[in-house]
């Protein structure tokens, strides 16, 4: 009985260690997100770059940030979340089609 308890304790401390490391990663990704946001705002505020560059660039920044959110903040990279990820990607695909439909082939 005590054995399992000790075992549990060491398991618990190991898990806490892992959890702390995880938290550090999350802090780093938060820092990166802030940086990405700053860069995006700066690019627009400076007003020196061409539109053709700025718009795809902003898109890219947004997608990278979304990735950080999903994978670090929302733990999508953890085990057993495959179906959740699959359906989010399904949603993203449907979202992409919807956007394509509304933006590309409606307008004269």
């Amino acid at each position: 009985m005590t054995d399992t308890k000790v075992n549990n304790m060491s398991k618990e401390s190991f898990r806490r260690q892992k959890s702390r490391e995880e938290m550090q990663k999350q802090l780093i990704s938060f820092g990166l997100m802030i940086v990405l946001t700053l860069v995006a705002f700066a690019v627009v505020a400076m007003d020196t770059f061409h539109k053709g560059f700025v718009i795809p660039f902003l898109f890219l920044m947004a997608i990278v940030q979304a990735g950080f959110q999903f994978y670090y903040f929302m733990h999508l990279k953890e085990r057993g979340t495959g179906m959740a990820a699959l359906l989010i990607y399904g949603g993203v695909w449907a979202a992409f089609l919807t956007l394509a439909g509304l933006i590309v082939i409606s307008w004269w």
Binding site: M83, L87, G90, G91, W93, A94, L97, T98, G101, L102, V104, I105, S106, W107, W108
Partner: protein, 620 residues
């Protein structure tokens, strides 16, 4: 139909039981009853349409009422009849097929039903309060903005409420299949009906949000003066068309894919042979769903999207024929070499093959956009989609009802009456809809209140009307069959010599489904145990207390709140006092939501002893 149990309790107890139930099987009964009611309503509307078109320049009903009829017929049949009945079948069977005791969110399941029911009720109340919606089931923005009265507002509010319920059902079923499969029930051992339920639910999840948004946009334009579709302020009604069909095309697959599952089960069972090419069938289902999302613009070939878009969507549309073809041939090969028993359920399945194949082939023909310039919005299209939806979904629903009736209600439907349902209906379908293809090509656009004299359209329309009445005869015989069979013989647990888990429990299934969770050893688990074991599914756990969710009246009351607030939305443009209903209804529902959230609900346990007793009873 569980009459013995009902007889012991008073009528009000019986009603209260159904109002508060969270049991997936009882919710299935509610869905079937509600969907059946709306099916009859939609059928009557169809007959009124056909009577109006029995001869040229007929004046059986007025032009305005005719438009209300076509709108309500389409909307009712799709949203309030076909989908709920299909959801009801899924509710009744899918948890049993994967060896689960209920769905993932029993409370939400009840809420979904009541939202559907009150949404449908709201929509149909428009008939009593100043006119039903009259802009077609698509309710295209330009005309629905132009339509006076409150009909379209009812359409918006009703579908919004019912749609929310459907979306929850989708999430519920996906979660159920992902987390609650019995031990050993891997994804590639799931019966095809469960697979199609899964894929359909995914389609619901992704297809309904665009409809929700679309209805919101229309609602704001009509009720609050925004300008999404107001051309004078820069709006654009083609947005409506896009969003509608981004929803609308997957919707077609939502209606048909579950039926592919049903037929796969029926062909396998009554041929006494496993499904031919199971893996291909699963992937074909997914491929159809995937492609189904990418072809919506074929409903818009004549909008003027330009040749590039039209060409891409034309090719994409034709491509769907490939996975569908795989399915048809795999079904035929399932029967090949088997021992094919033809009973009512099988009759519907066999009738489905030629009927649906015609619907599919006209679908490919419509996919050729240049040909579609002629077909589009003509009776050809009407013929096509009725071949698909009646020949696919409705045949599927009848097949499924005959097949699973014993499991759902504990009685076997009468065979003779079953066959008598099929033949008039089958002949009626072809009489009604085949000529419509020709009528379309002969120059008859759809949604025509009258067709003029001397345009050679008389004979075709007459034949079509006769066919519609034959279908009505079939439907009436089915209702008679339900009543007759209610007094018939009780069903055995496994009346068809079935292959899947639902036939391993008694008919109707006990409220906890499985006393012990089953252990699944392969595809068609029951068949495997019949062939290699003792015919009984081994248990995956020792007999113990079974955890069950508590019933609740909250879903019912919450839906009433939304129902009342729906009226508020509709009429607040007339009188500000209606804001009371709008906010009052919403506040009521939100309060109930908070109550639900604040109260701890741990459910209850069925004690082991009770289960033991039940198992002994079954053994006797």
């Amino acid at each position: 139909m569980a009459t013995t149990a009902a007889a012991k309790r008073s009528f009000w107890e019986f009603i209260w039981d159904y109002l508060t139930t969270v049991d997936h099987k009882k919710i299935a009964h509610l869905y079937l009853a509600g969907g059946g009611f709306f099916f009859i309503l939609g059928g009557i509307e169809a007959l009124i349409i056909r009577i109006q078109l029995i001869k040229p320049e007929n004046d059986f009903i007025s032009a305005g009422f005719y438009n209300e009829m076509i709108t309500m017929h389409g909307t009712t049949m799709i949203f309030l009849a076909a989908m709920p009945i299909i959801v009801g079948l899924m509710n009744a069977i899918m948890p049993l097929q994967i060896g689960a005791r209920d769905v993932a969110f029993p409370f939400l399941n009840a809420l979904s039903f009541w939202l559907f029911f009150f949404g449908g009720l709201l929509l149909n109340l428009s008939f009593l309060f100043g006119g039903a919606p009259d802009a077609g089931w698509t309710s295209y923005a330009s005309l629905s903005m132009d339509s006076s009265g409150h009909g379209i507002d009812y359409y918006i509010a009703g579908l919004q409420i019912a749609g929310a319920g459907t979306l929850m059902t989708g999430i519920n079923f996906i979660a159920t299949i992902v987390t609650m499969r019995a031990p050993g029930m891997t994804y590639m051992r799931m019966p095809l009906f469960t697979w199609t339920t899964f894929v359909t639910s995914v389609l619901i999840l992704f297809a309904f949000p665009p409809l929700t948004i679309n209805l919101f946009l229309l609602m704001f334009d009509r009720m609050f003066g925004t300008a999404f579709f107001n051309v004078a302020l820069g709006g654009n009604q083609v947005i409506y068309q896009h969003l509608f069909w981004i929803f609308g095309h997957p919707e077609v697959y939502i209606l048909i894919l579950p039926m592919f599952g049903v037929f796969s089960e029926i062909f396998a069972t009554f041929s006494r042979k496993r499904l031919f090419g199971y893996t291909a069938m699963v992937f074909a289902t997914m491929l159809i769903a995937f492609l189904g999302f990418m072809v919506w613009a074929h409903h818009m070939f004549t909008v003027g999207l330009g040749p590039v878009a039209n060409a891409i969507f034309a090719v994409g549309t034709m491509a769907i024929a490939v996975p569908t073809g795989i399915k048809i041939f795999n079904w035929l090969l399932t029967m090949w070499g088997g021992q094919v028993t033809i009973n009512s359920a099988m009759l519907w399945a066999l009738g489905f093959i030629p009927t649906f194949t015609i619907g599919g082939m006209t679908g490919v023909m419509l996919g050729s956009n240049v040909a579609d310039y002629q077909y589009h919005d003509s009776y050809f299209v009407v013929g096509h989609f009725h071949y698909v939806i009646v020949g696919g979904s409705v045949f599927g629903i009848f097949a499924a009802l005959h097949y699973w009736w014993p499991k759902m209600f504990g009685r076997v439907l009468n065979e003779t009456l079953g066959k008598l349902t099929f033949w008039p209906f089958f002949i009626g379908v072809h009489l009604t809809f085949f000529v419509q293809h020709l009528l379309g090509l002969m120059g008859m656009p759809r949604r025509y209140w009258v067709f003029l004299e001397d345009q050679s359209l008389d004979l075709g329309n007459l034949i079509s009307t006769i066919g519609a009445f034959l279908m009505g005869v079939g439907a009436i015989i089915f209702v008679i069959n339900i009543i007759v069979s209610a007094f018939g013989e009780k069903a055995a647990a496994d009346p068809w010599d079935g292959r899947t888990l639902e036939w391993a429990v008694s008919s109707p299934a006990p409220y906890y489904n499985f006393a012990q969770l089953p252990l699944v050893r392969g595809l068609d688990p029951l068949w495997i145990e019949k062939m290699e074991g003792n015919g009984k599914i081994p248990a995956a756990e020792p007999l113990g207390d079974v955890h069950m969710p508590n019933g609740s009246i909250i879903p019912f009351l919450m839906s009433i709140g939304f129902f009342i607030s729906g009226f508020g939305f509709i009429y607040q443009t007339d009188n500000v006092y209606w804001y009371l209903a709008l906010y009052g209804g919403l506040a009521f529902s939100i309060a109930l939501m908070i109550i639900r959230s604040v109260k701890d609900d741990y459910g209850y346990y069925i004690p082991k002893e009770e289960l033991e007793k039940a198992l002994e009873g079954e053994a006797k």
